[in-house]
């Protein structure tokens, strides 16, 4: 074993060697058992270090608000907007959050499997379900507003004065290409009963990325958590695709990531076909739907609860 090779071995184990140095080690290893053993040791060490280091961190604290407040910029940090807005309503919303949490757990064990069974059929179906869910939420909320005042009605009352989350924070995935589609057409296709206000207050975005779907969904989990959202127990990473639902007060974000291969397994009716056609092989389709309501309102669209009946 030459000194040069010996010095390069740890970087070969770390998979950071490039070009000729990488080739040199590759060739050398074929006929040097001593170096092969040395490499195994470095790899064991690498594994231990990765476990040791990564175990230190499982959560990331929110980015401090004062970091950007010292600048001359007049624009408030996007994350802070949500936090500040939320803090004003924290007390009033505490009880409601607990309610939502309880309902979410129930949904995660009951309604969610049905919902995700539908998700497995492909992103088109998913979007339809999502939009129908919004429809259910909106119609349900309207009915509640007209009734005496159950806890959820407090959240509904805030809808008119509060801008939905999607208008305040950027949920775009880094490097993703936004797909071209007629949002109104899609919304109309799945939400015939949407009022103009409901159309305006729910946001749908669809893009495509070259990243693996698990990487994308991990990014969104981190992003939403850092923004103060609670991820429900409805995390679903199966059937080669992934979805999450996150809540913060009465704001809900439903996000899904579907690889090209999965998209190809279902037929896509208009206007979704134009959207799906834009996803290239090796790409994943990313969508998110944000709205104001409660995730517990998400039910199987095949059996919608009458809007006049309180669901909880």
């Amino acid at each position: 074993m030459t000194k040069h090779v010996s010095e390069l071995l740890p970087f070969y184990a770390a998979e950071t060697l490039l070009g000729s140095q990488h080739s040199l080690i590759e060739i050398h290893l074929k006929h040097c058992s001593e170096c092969e053993m040395e490499l195994r040791q470095w790899r064991t060490l690498r594994e231990a270090i990765r476990l040791n280091t990564s175990s230190r961190v499982s959560t990331l604290p929110p980015l401090a608000t004062w970091i950007t407040s010292t600048s001359n910029d007049s624009v408030r940090p996007v994350a802070d907007q949500v936090i500040v807005e939320e803090s004003a309503q924290t007390l009033a919303a505490t009880h409601q959050k607990e309610e939502i949490k309880k309902m979410s757990q129930k949904i995660a064990t009951q309604a969610a499997p049905r919902r995700f069974l539908a998700l497995a059929a492909g992103v088109v179906i998913t979007i339809i379900i999502g939009m129908v869910a919004v429809l259910l939420i909106k119609s349900g909320d309207n009915s509640r507003t007209d009734t005496s005042a159950p806890p959820a009605a407090v959240a509904t009352a805030a809808v008119a004065t509060k801008t939905p989350i999607a208008n305040q924070i950027s949920l775009s995935y880094p490097g993703a290409t936004k797909l071209v589609y007629d949002e109104t057409a899609i919304k109309k296709a799945v939400g015939n009963n949407f009022t103009p206000e409901q159309l305006k207050n729910s946001t749908l975005s669809v893009s495509a990325s070259n990243d693996d779907y698990l990487k994308v969904i991990a990014y969104y989990k981190q992003l939403l958590t850092s923004l103060g959202y609670s991820l429900l127990g409805s995390d679903n990473s199966q059937e080669g695709q992934a979805t999450i639902i996150a809540t913060k007060g009465d704001k809900v974000v439903s996000c899904g990531v579907v690889p090209y291969q999965v998209l190809q397994t279902t037929s896509s009716p208009a206007p979704f076909d134009t959207l799906v056609k834009q996803v290239k092989p090796d790409q994943t389709l990313i969508y998110y739907l944000s709205y104001v309501g409660s995730p517990s309102d998400l039910e199987d669209p095949a059996t919608p609860t009458p809007s006049t009946t309180p669901r909880h």
Binding site: S6, E7, P10, F11, A13, A14, E15, T16, L17, Q41, W42, T44, L45, R46, E47, A48, I49, R50, L51, N52, T53, S54, S55, R56, V57, S58, T59, L60, P61, L63, A64, W66, I67, T68, T70, S71, D73, V75, R76, P77, V78, A79, D80, I169, S170, P174, G175, N210, D211, Y219, Q222, L223, S226
Partner: protein, 191 residues
């Protein structure tokens, strides 16, 4: 947690820093989400104190926010952030007059659910456990070097740049660390 940045992000991350320099808060936030976990892991390793590390991480992000204008793209963005983190950690350690090495406190080690299932068996798990304990006994600079190379995936030159030493020093430190670990595992060193 979050893996080290890959090359696919190289152009994207420079765009992010430029956006930060232009006052784009969302870009800072994206950078934080991308590299915050790895930087935090590094800082906890250096400071042996989770809450202090989280505090320093915020300082690092503020330095990045303010320094984005002067970032010239001579290095990877992540390497730049690591240099800032390291300098902040050194300053923080100097402030702690009673600072001395001690093992990670329990609150600094999050649960590792799932990791055991990745390992082949009890024996292997015990070996890994012994190795991890030995790692904690290494001198700080040796453990730091190992982590920069094997967790943060820095090249020899990048590691040297972060540590502000020559590349040769990095390589010799690596091999010294390995020798020390072997002795620790063989029980030839009592502490």
């Amino acid at each position: 947690m979050t893996k080290q940045p890959d090359t696919a992000f190289d152009n994207d991350e420079i765009v992010l820093v430029k956006a930060m320099a232009a006052g784009d808060h969302a870009a800072l936030h994206t950078l934080y989400l991308r590299y915050g976990p790895s930087l935090l892991a590094y800082l906890i390793g250096q400071l042996q104190n989770r809450s202090l590390a989280e505090e320093i991480l915020q300082d690092v992000m503020m330095a990045a926010w303010k320094g984005a204008v002067s970032f010239r793209g001579d290095s990877k963005v992540y390497t730049w952030l690591l240099v800032i983190a390291r300098n902040r950690a050194i300053t923080a350690r100097k402030r702690l007059s009673d600072y001395k090495y001690h093992p990670l406190t329990l609150d600094a080690i999050d649960t590792m659910q799932g990791h055991d299932t990745l390992e082949a068996g009890v024996e292997r798990r015990d070996e890994q456990q012994a190795l991890r304990q030995a790692l904690q006994k290494l001198p700080v600079e040796q453990r730091e070097t190992l982590e920069l190379i094997f967790y943060h995936d820095l090249s020899a030159a990048e590691t040297a740049a972060v540590l502000q030493v020559a590349s040769g020093t990095v390589k010799s430190r690596l091999h010294r660390a390995k020798t020390a670990l072997r002795k620790l595992l063989e029980g030839k060193l009592n502490d």
